[in-house]
Assembly symmetry: C2
Homo-oligomer: 276 residues x 2
């Protein structure tokens, strides 16, 4: 069997093409498609990510409104900014860059975002509707995982999927999405006993723990499908949660970089069009 390298680019390109068309059509109707990015300074990765998103959004015809705030900004100032963005009809999407500094109450900020303008299913109402199965706008990274699986024709029905990580950002939502596609899903985490044994039993692995090279070759079944969500900065450059040699055993895998990350960015843009 041929090994499939699940490159993110073609998946992202298909999404972006569609987004660009929708934005163009909205502009023809005289609408402004504004994406507001709320960046509290101090996190290097967020700054890099923001630059990338700004460039991408502009390349697709969106208007970016960057709200940069100092690292010591007070909660009330962030809330005020979000309120103003909520009220601004030209702003179609609001994305606060995570993680926010510890002194801020991220939960309160996310809850204030107009659910219609919520770009990453951060609002508890959106999260609830997603969890209950009535909101297709899952958070962007889990949606990127599903888009990759779909694009590369990975059948999920009845398959054993193991999700590594239980965060609200990836682990829990990707588990729900895999479940919607009728996979049998196991969710593993730091307290899991006999993790290698469980992973070796998986037809599909989604690794989302943010630990460089965590998944070793002996934890992977021959022929499995590996989705690596990790983007870890190391001395050797950006690496995933899956050791590169583990992918040798996979029938298909997403590379890092160039895999889920680029699709995830495109998903932010797709979400921006949800009300166009």
């Amino acid at each position: 069997m041929e090994k499939v390298i699940m490159l993110g680019k073609p998946v992202a390109d298909a999404v972006k093409e569609n987004v660009a068309k929708k934005i163009a059509a909205a502009k023809m109707r005289g609408e402004i498609v504004g994406l507001a990015i709320v960046l509290v300074e101090g996190d290097a990765a967020s700054a890099v990510y923001t630059k990338r998103l700004v460039k991408l959004a502009e390349s697709l015809g969106a208007q970016v409104h960057l709200v940069a705030m100092p690292a010591d900004v007070e909660q009330v100032e962030v809330l005020k900014a979000v309120s103003q963005l909520n009220a601004d009809a030209d702003i179609k999407g609001i994305l606060p860059m995570m993680p926010l500094p510890k002194h801020l109450d991220a939960q309160e900020i996310c809850a204030l975002i107009d659910p219609n303008k919520d770009m990453d299913c951060l609002s508890p109402l959106n999260a609830g509707e997603f969890y209950l199965g009535t909101n297709p706008w899952a958070p962007c990274t889990p949606r990127a995982c599903m888009a990759a699986l779909n694009y590369y024709n990975i059948d999920l029905k009845g398959k054993k999927a193991v999700v590594l990580g239980r965060s609200n950002v990836v682990g829990k939502p990707v588990e729900l999405l895999l479940l919607q596609k009728h996979a049998t899903v196991t969710i593993c985490h730091s307290r899991t006993v006999n993790l290698p044994l469980i992973l070796r039993d998986a037809d599909i692995i989604v690794a989302a723990i943010g630990v460089p090279n965590f998944v070793k070759p002996d934890m992977v079944k021959e022929g499995s499908v590996i989705i690596d969500v990790g983007i870890n900065a190391t001395d050797e450059g950006i690496v995933g949660d899956v050791e590169e040699t583990s992918n040798a055993k996979a029938s298909a895998f997403t590379p890092v970089p160039g895999g889920i990350g680029v699709i995830s960015n495109a998903m932010v843009m797709e979400t921006l069009t949800k009300n166009l």
Copy 2:
């Protein structure tokens, strides 16, 4: 090892005692603790369940406000009733009996319930906060499962739990609760392949599919813990999702009837006190 029959009564009694105290204290302060049950007629099981809840609530000092509606009631009438209950300060809890008839939009009705008065985590906002981990008021039946496990000192950390069923009412929320307690959780359903093999690997089984006697002895590991959420009316009376002989292999199990059901009812009453 002694086999533990996880009777629901002592678990429910402990909850009820606490609830009665809180309601008594509220009444001392001059508050009325009203529980509104919205019953659309036509479902026999709902009628029986309603009677039981009314009796239980009254025995604990709550005032029950039964809103009975004909089977062909229109959506707008149900919404109007919920709005009135939302506005009534004496009503501390609202519980629409499920399932509602097919011609009604249950989702719209649930979304209208004041989240503070929502007795079973039906409101999407409550569901979202529960899913995100910031609302401890999970739906009543999954909370009952956890109360039973806690009361009978079943250790969950690192244990393999298998949830049978993926409903919003039991399967999905009990999975999240087990995950919060650091179990490694697999969620199985009708499309799961090799289900017996997966169940036989479980330290803890939560069966919630509503299929009488589905879990056979050969699907159960010796010494496992079995939580049976099923309450199925059959010619042989009420039976669970787990065949009785399967429990012979368990180290602990909940009987049906007399297990999760009675705890679940007590949990509705506990939820009634959440704002007292």
